[in-house]
Subunit: 355 residues, 4 copies
């Protein structure tokens, strides 16, 4: 067991059990403690062989614990992460990294000052499909990225404290951050939304984002759609990729189809028009391994710590996603952060008490 | 033949032949003349039994011609329509009604002053699917309209003189105008677009439009998509409709699925959250007749003239669509109208000469 | 706990854990023992609170055990079930009921002589979709059944001891038995198959079965298909139903489409031809509850015992399925039963020893 | 015009107009005459510039006519074709080649004796999809053919004189004949069918056919299905191809997925089981040109005549299809040929009179 890193999971609510299961079965990790104010829940999640506690200090004081994984509500991330970093722990944080850009920036800065790994759990980035997408973009297979259209809609749970953009768009934005060569652009964001059912926050949202080289990304998130769609189109100058996450038989399709425009130096509209051509080539669908994303993610967390390098989805990635979300809120509501004051929810661990 | 109305078709290019065929086979119409500067083309389109001319005046002077149908490039609509109206002819105009709101308004005003029918050929509104959609909205089957999402993308012909919004969005907007109880809203338009291939005009466009009652409509048009999608979702408070125009086996689906929020007078976030409920009912797909839209459209033109009433898709409908397009251009480019000066195209009838 | 029935699960292999989980969480049952020769496996499946044994006699001698559920290889069903019935236990058996009609008939006869419930675990019959299908047939919504086409193909595990018909067709046949008013027809069976990869048994199979009233059922099973299809069409004189088990968004579709032929008494081909008409009505997709089939199945087992009545999928149902499978094998290979002598498999509990 | 071959089209009913259009616009052919007893129909089809006649002898006596294309009811093919061959004309015949094997064989023999081209119009074989399929099989891309499953079902016109197998299966069988290296196998045919609506002939049919190397082909044709499917799966030892003719966006898919079984010389079931492996590779969808099949077909007819070689779909191909159809009828009805005596139909040209 000397080679394994010690880890504690903070928060045994919705996502915590997935982290517990994956840290628990990873060859890289020794899961030491599960921490939640609700000890009964912590025990149910931890199983018979892992210690539980409702005292964060118990975790921070334990030198055998190298890292903590935080799976609590977004507004508690900043406080918990800073406590852990100041105690010398590496930190993994659920998305979104924090509930404000300022909070996320503080976390990134402290981690860098202390030389610790701060990683954002952008789980989708560790799926075989998204890893393949990143590889195809990086290798130049798609060419320059011309447009991206991401649709994530279904009859979804209307959240009590965040709008549909903060709820669903972090998935799309973290994927864009992961696959775009320069990471997620953070300027020029525009968002539109609607709350037609009177929920008190946007239930339908559209977000656009300019890409390098005159391209455009668009994200459509919607809690009110009767049908479920999770689809992303990445249009490139050489190929266009379609990811249909709900079609296990053909998740990725790469189309050798597109419009080519030879940019001639001769001016004039006629000239431009005549140099347009259309490609109508083959379609290709790569086989993808069956592999759980979270297993890859916890391995990457261990790798980053051991090799003293930033994680693939590090704090900066989380911060870029936050920046876009805040800008979106600003165009939607005229103010940057989470849209409504968070109301206490029975289902949430009251982590202030834990601390 | 005394009961039939006389009609001339102006323009024998892309769309003209469809009008010629439908006026020619309609029991309501007597197709008298096809007019195009390119007489050979006019003859090829008109067939052996219909007169052709390259002189607009020939049409305007003929008292047996009650109406003209204009299927020429958008920038020529205003001039031709005004000439025809001033000569006492009823007028049908291809979409878009004109190339500017000012032009369209002039046409509407002259038609009203003269008591003549001015109709916009919003063909989709005469398809069985869209007629059924209008009926379902009007009957209250869908309830209040909460959101609309319209996607019209494929590997499309990059147009030499108009952008993708002016090329494709008129279809979506004219349908919205037709099915929404109050017609198309024309304020609060926002558009984003991109020209990643350097075509000189937007090839990808997103347009949002607020709906009455805090709803939102979104239109996505794209010339660069490798896959072809023509789909519209109309989310209502009672039912949600999905129109998939490329699925002949199930074009319309009506879902009894949605989120209901009882608006209680008791304040507080908890209260609001607890009153949300989810409907998961049946889906229904009405059978639609097989019927050519253009046949219905030319019949409606005749009906409006005979009954001295506005056509279902009248000049005001065309004007509302123009207004939204101009607003979209203004947010995209900072100026309202068609995006680039129209270049002469060999394939276009030089209709100035005709006049 | 006095109201609950005591049950033992025999066999902790592939299917046993599902039975253990469902008996364990049922309000109708008290799971007493899990029995497998491989005690370690039995323990892993049983969890900490349920007794395990490798001695069948331990189960048979226990008066608190009212019933046993048998989830062992098909060739062991007959022996185990007879032992249990003779010990006065009600018996649930995995599909297929036995490995021969003779064996199945012996089980049915002993159960009837002893007044005990013998139930076949035809799990699909307890899914919401199949229950709805049965209801639609029984209510006359579909009319007379004209044809059935069932396709169950994918890249499947080539089984070491049974062919693709014995492996997959029991699903289709048990469903037909459940939904057809008179149960599964057992005469007139014809099967064709192929073993193109040299596996020693059919890997592709087609089975046809005449239905009452000149109808026809066809079942296509295939281990070699690169795509996965699980679809059944039930063509009726009034409506036709399509069940697409892999489309969670629209599992059942009922089409009001079909060919109607008025059977006039006037003879002659012309007359017949002229009385054919085509219905092209609406399509309807009923919402289905989310409900685990096995929970329903174990509840039915308890209900049959308490009410002293045959289970919905009783021993006779299992016997009809066996009869069709044997007839299929006879037309395929010239002999009735399982196609090859079963080879010992490491993964199989050696249940002879248990007995 | 000296380079063109002269042709007459016999029969101006359902299919004749397509032949007239394609011969008329082909650079290889000079369409001389359209022949039908119903002269008005012949004229409507022929257009203003092609001669019409109701006298077959007019065609046979004309030395400028090199070939005739026969598009009349099946029972008239033999007589018309023999007359034409005996008059020295090359002959193209609609599918099926004749209404019996004996009739088809007579046609093939006379053509060979006279050194004339006898071609069957198996139109599907000239579509880009089927041509690609043939190419992929011939190149070994798919490996040995293990199984074929062809489904051609929809709410179809119940024919007055032939059953669903004779109506629809010629399409599937002619395609199999075209793509299988040795042509269509003609022995071991088995068919099942049903007439649940009392139409007097099978409306649902299943046909199986053994392939070389222990493979199996299955054809499902159905006039009563509410949904329309036209799909063929060709399972090979190296790749499997799926042709979905109703999906223009992805008509052909080639799956590198399958089951491999190493045939070791060591005997024993365990050995066999352990040498099974599963391939889960990429999927590929080749782009197909947009090209009208009939244009290719009439070009092939000209090529065969000029190069004095059999056509790709020659009389023997038509004869193999007939042989399978007759065998299918024999297993279905106990007699070989078309199932009911053909009744006179108003819509059919009474070609006996023409002759």
């Amino acid at each position: 067991m000397t080679d394994r890193l010690g880890v504690a999971v903070i928060g045994a609510g919705y996502w915590g059990p997935n982290l517990v299961r994956n840290f628990g079965s990873s060859p890289h990790w020794d899961l030491k403690v599960v921490c939640d104010l609700d000890l009964a829940r912590a025990r149910a999640v931890a199983g018979p062989h892992v210690e539980v506690t409702d005292q964060l200090q118990r975790v921070l004081d334990d030198p055998s614990i190298d890292a903590v994984a935080i799976a609590t509500p977004a507004r508690t991330h900043q406080g918990l992460a800073l406590d852990a970093l100041l105690a010398g722990k590496h930190v993994l944080v659920e998305k979104p990294l924090a509930d404000s850009v300022a909070g996320g920036r503080a976390m990134v800065e402290v981690a860098e000052q202390r030389g610790l790994v701060l990683m954002t759990d952008h789980t989708y980035c560790y799926t075989p499909a998204v890893q393949k997408m990143r590889e195809l973009v990086a290798s130049g297979e798609l060419g320059d990225i011309h447009f991206i259209d991401s649709v994530r809609i279904n009859l979804g749970l209307v959240q009590p404290d965040i709008d549909v953009l903060w709820d669903l768009a972090p998935h799309d934005l973290s994927i864009l951050d992961f696959i775009l060569p320069g990471g997620l652009p953070t300027t020029g964001v525009h968002a539109t939304g609607a709350d037609p059912i009177g929920a008190g926050r946007a239930c339908v949202g559209h977000l656009t984002l300019p890409l390098a080289g005159d391209g455009l990304a668009h994200v459509h998130v919607n809690w009110l759609s009767p049908t479920k769609i999770r689809q992303m189109v990445i249009g490139g100058s050489r190929r266009t990729l379609v990811w249909d996450d709900l079609n296990p038989q053909q998740r990725l399709s790469i189309y050798d189809r597109g419009v080519d425009l030879a940019r001639t130096s001769v001016a004039g509209a006629d000239r431009a028009a005549s140099s347009i051509s259309y490609r109508l080539g083959d379609t290709w669908s790569p086989a993808l391994p069956e592999r759980e994303a979270l297993g890859q993610m916890v391995a990457e967390f261990a790798g980053a710590i051991r090799e003293d390098r930033p994680a693939l989805t590090d704090g900066h990635a989380g911060l870029r996603v936050l920046t876009v979300l805040e800008s979106a809120s600003a165009t939607l509501y005229g103010e940057p952060a989470l849209t409504v004051p968070p109301a206490p929810r029975a289902a949430e661990p009251a982590l202030e008490a834990v601390r």
